[in-house]
C-alpha cells in the first residue's frame, strides 16, 4: 500500500492535482457561492482552456528539452492571418483556417530547424521569433488595413460551421474550447506514454547523447515538437478569432510565460526529460481558478501577479523536493 502511494506521489502531476483541489476549496470558501455556481465554474474552465491548449504543446516540448517563447506571438499571428485572409483577401473561413494552420506549422518548423541546426539555446532563438512574429503581425495588420483590431468574421462564408466547431458554448456556458483542450491533452498523453514517439521525446530531453547512440533521431523529434507547439498556439488563435469574430494584433501577449508557468506548476522540469501533460492540464486549471477566483472573491486585480509568481516559486520548490525524495527512495 505505502509502496503504491509512494509511486503516486513520485509522479510529476500529483502535486499539481493536490494543489488544484486545495485551490478549489480555498476559492469556494473565499468567493462563496459565485465560485461554486455553474457560471463561476464555466468562467474558470473557459479561462483555463486556451492556456491549457498552449500548455499541452509547451509541456511536450519542455519534456523534449526545449523552450518556445514564441507561442504567444503565434496566437497573434494565427488570429490575424485568419482575419486578413478572409476580410481583406476575400477567402471564406475554412480555406483561411487551413492556410493559417499551414503557416503555423511552417513557423514551428523554422523554429525547430533553427534550434537543431545552430545548436543555439531555444530560449534565445524563440525569444527572437517572439519579437519578429509580433512585429510582423502588427506591421501586416497596419499595412493592409491601417488598423490593429479587425472584426467582421461573422459575415464571411463558412462562419456558421466554424462557429460551431471553434466558437460555440454547447453546454451551460461551457465552451467548445474545453473539449479541444481535453482532447489535445488526451492525445498528447497517449503519444507520450503509449507510443515510441513518447520514449523518444523523454530520451531527447533527458539524455540526448544516449538517445542518439541508440538511434533516436533527436533533431527530427525536436522539430516535430516545435511544430506541435506552434499548432497548439495556432488552435488558440483560431478559437479566439472565431469566438470574438475578429482579431487583435496584440492577442496572446505574455501567454508564453503563462504556459510555461502552467507546465512548471504541473511538475515538468525545466531541464527536460521529466514531466507530464496531465500535470500541465492541472497547472492551467489552477491558473484559471486563481485568475477568475480572485475576481469573484472581490480581491483587487493587482494581487493576481503576486499570487501567480508566488505559486510558481512554490511549485518549483515542491517539485524539486518531491524529485529529490523520489530519487533518494529509488
Amino acid at each position: 500500500m505505502s509502496r503504491r502511494l509512494a509511486r503516486v506521489f513520485a509522479r510529476p502531476e500529483t502535486a499539481a492535482a493536490v494543489g488544484a483541489i486545495l485551490i478549489w476549496i480555498l476559492f469556494a470558501g473565499l468567493a462563496g457561492p459565485a465560485f461554486r455556481s455553474m457560471a463561476g465554474t464555466a468562467s474558470y474552465l473557459n479561462a483555463a482552456a486556451p492556456l491549457g491548449i498552449l500548455a499541452v504543446g509547451v509541456a511536450m516540448l519542455m519534456i523534449g528539452g526545449e523552450f518556445d517563447l514564441s507561442v504567444g506571438s503565434i496566437v497573434g499571428v494565427s488570429g490575424m492571418s485568419v482575419m486578413l485572409l478572409t476580410t481583406e483577401l476575400g477567402w471564406s473561413v475554412w480555406p483561411a483556417i487551413i492556410a493559417t494552420v499551414v503557416l503555423c506549422l511552417l513557423i514551428g518548423f523554422l523554429n525547430g530547424l533553427t534550434v537543431v541546426r545552430t545548436q543555439l539555446p531555444s530560449f534565445i532563438v524563440t525569444l527572437a521569433t517572439l519579437f519578429i512574429l509580433r512585429g510582423l503581425t502588427i506591421a501586416s495588420a497596419r499595412g493592409f488595413t491601417r488598423r490593429t483590431q479587425l472584426g467582421g468574421l461573422d459575415d464571411v462564408p463558412g462562419y456558421e460551421l466554424a462557429s460551431l466547431v471553434f466558437g460555440s458554448a454547447p453546454l451551460a456556458g461551457l465552451r467548445v474550447s474545453i473539449i479541444w483542450w481535453l482532447a489535445a491533452a488526451a492525445l498528447a498523453t497517449w503519444v507520450l506514454v503509449r507510443t515510441p514517439w513518447g520514449n523518444w521525446i523523454f530520451a531527447a530531453g533527458g539524455q540526448p547523447e544516449a538517445a542518439r547512440n541508440i538511434g533516436v533521431r533527436v533533431g527530427r523529434v525536436k522539430i516535430g515538437l516545435f511544430m506541435t507547439t506552434a499548432l497548439c498556439a495556432c488552435l488558440v488563435g483560431i478559437l479566439q478569432a472565431v469566438r470574438f469574430t475578429g482579431a487583435d494584433a496584440l492577442r496572446g501577449q505574455l501567454q508564453e510565460f503563462y504556459a510555461i508557468i502552467a507546465v512548471v506548476i504541473g511538475g515538468t522540469l525545466l531541464t527536460g526529460g521529466y514531466g507530464s501533460v496531465v500535470g500541465a492540464v492541472f497547472g492551467a486549471l489552477i491558473f484559471g481558478m486563481v485568475r477568475q477566483g480572485i475576481v469573484m472573491a472581490g480581491i483587487e486585480a493587482d494581487w493576481f501577479q503576486v499570487v501567480l509568481g508566488g505559486m510558481l516559486l512554490l511549485a518549483v520548490f515542491v517539485n524539486r523536493f518531491a524529485l529529490l525524495r523520489a530519487q533518494r527512495a529509488a
Binding site: 509512494a6 500529483t14 493536490v18 480555498l26 473557459n46 477566483g293 486585480a301
Partner: protein, 335 residues
C-alpha cells in the same frame, strides 16, 4: 521511511501555498452582497469595475482614484479589475468572472466591442446595471449599458480647432501618433471641421508613438516643407513632446501655436512657460467617480441623467492660467 515522510511533507508545502494565497486575499475586500437593490443599504452595494487600463498606467491610476474616492464618498464598495496587458480576451474573462459573482453594478471600458460585447450583454441579461466608461460611446446603448461616461472625441477635436482658430492660425497640422485608432481619427476630424468652417486648411501627419526622435524629425520636416503652417494639434503627449522639441530647434516656439490632447508633466510645464497654448484634458477622474455615483443612484432611485445619453467628461482645457493648479492636482493623482 523516506516515502512516508514525503507523504507528510507534500501536504505541508501545499498548506504553505494556500497560506500565501490567503495572505494575498487580505489585500482586498471580499464582501459578497446578495441583497436585491431595493432594500439594500449603501454599504451592501458592491460595484465591480473592469477596464483595459492596468493600474500602473498614470492615466488609469487617476481613474482608479476617482472610483475609490467615489466609493468612500457614497459609502459603497468598489473593486477594480484589469488585465495585465492590453488583452481583450483576458478582459472578457474578467467581466465573466465579475458577472458570476453577481455584483450590484458593473463599470466597463469598451475598447473592442467585438471581443467584449458578449460578456457585457450577458451581464445586462442577468439584470446587472452597466455603465461604460472612456471608450465605447457609440456601442454603449446597443450593448445595454444605461449610461456612458467619457470624452466625446469629435467635440474635443472641434474645441481644439476653435481654440487654434481664435489664436489666429492660417494652416494647421494634426499630428497623429496612432493612425488607424478610430478615436484619434475622430479627433482629427473634429479639428478639421472646426477649422474648415473658418476657412483654415488642415493636414494630418502620422508619427510613431514609440519613436520620439523620429517623430521630432517628421514634424520638423513637415514644417520645412510647408512654412505656412502656423498651428499644430497633437493627439497625445507622445506627439506633443517631440513637436515642441522640433519647434525649439527651429526657433519657432510661439510663432507656431501648439495645442495637444492629454497631460504630462512636460506638457504642463510647457503650458506654464507659455510654449504650448493649451492641453485638451478628458478629466478621467470623472470617468472613475461619476459611474459609481450613477450606479448608486440608479440602484436606489432608478434615475438616469440625460435619458441615457453619453455624459461627456471632456474636453476640459488646461491653459497658462490653470497649468500650475493642475500640476498640483496631478501630483495628488486627481488629474
Amino acid at each position: 521511511m523516506a516515502t512516508k515522510r514525503m507523504n507528510r511533507a507534500t501536504p505541508i508545502l501545499m498548506a504553505v501555498l494556500v497560506a500565501a494565497l490567503i495572505a494575498g486575499a487580505c489585500g482586498g475586500p471580499s464582501g459578497q452582497s446578495g441583497a436585491s437593490s431595493n432594500d439594500s443599504t449603501r454599504s451592501d452595494i458592491r460595484i465591480v469595475a473592469v477596464t483595459h487600463g492596468v493600474s500602473a498606467n498614470p492615466f488609469w491610476s487617476v481613474v482608479i482614484n476617482g472610483l475609490d474616492d467615489a466609493a468612500r464618498d457614497m459609502g459603497v464598495s468598489v473593486e477594480y479589475q484589469a488585465p495585465n496587458t492590453f488583452d481583450m480576451v483576458a478582459m472578457s474573462e474578467l467581466i465573466e468572472a465579475a458577472v458570476a459573482s453577481r455584483p450590484d453594478g458593473l463599470v466597463v471600458s469598451v475598447p473592442d466591442p467585438d471581443a467584449l460585447g458578449a460578456a457585457i450583454r450577458a451581464a445586462v441579461e442577468r439584470g446587472i446595471p452597466v455603465v461604460t466608461i472612456n471608450s465605447g460611446e457609440d456601442v454603449s446603448a446597443a450593448l445595454g449599458a444605461f449610461a456612458h461616461v467619457g470624452q466625446a472625441e469629435y467635440d474635443a477635436g472641434y474645441g481644439g480647432g476653435e481654440r487654434l482658430a481664435d489664436a489666429g492660425v492660417s494652416r494647421v497640422l494634426c499630428v497623429n501618433q496612432e493612425v488607424g485608432n478610430a478615436a484619434l481619427d475622430t479627433r482629427c476630424q473634429g479639428l478639421g471641421d472646426a477649422l474648415a468652417e473658418r476657412g483654415v486648411p488642415t493636414s494630418v501627419l502620422a508619427v510613431e508613438l514609440a519613436d520620439p526622435e523620429d517623430s521630432q524629425q517628421r514634424v520638423a520636416g513637415a514644417l520645412a516643407a510647408d512654412p505656412g503652417i502656423d498651428g499644430i494639434l497633437t493627439l497625445g503627449t507622445t506627439g506633443a513632446e517631440p513637436a515642441l522639441a522640433a519647434l525649439r530647434d527651429l526657433g519657432r516656439v510661439g510663432t507656431v501655436r501648439l495645442g495637444t490632447f492629454d497631460l504630462s508633466t512636460k506638457v504642463l510645464e510647457a503650458i506654464r512657460d507659455g510654449e504650448i497654448d493649451f492641453a485638451i484634458d478628458q478629466q478621467q477622474y470623472l470617468q472613475g467617480y461619476l459611474p459609481v455615483v450613477l450606479l448608486t443612484l440608479y440602484l436606489e432611485t432608478g434615475t438616469v441623467p440625460g435619458g441615457g445619453h453619453a455624459i461627456p467628461t471632456g474636453p476640459g482645457f488646461v491653459t497658462i492660467e490653470t497649468a500650475q493648479q493642475v500640476m498640483d492636482l496631478t501630483r495628488r493623482g486627481l488629474r
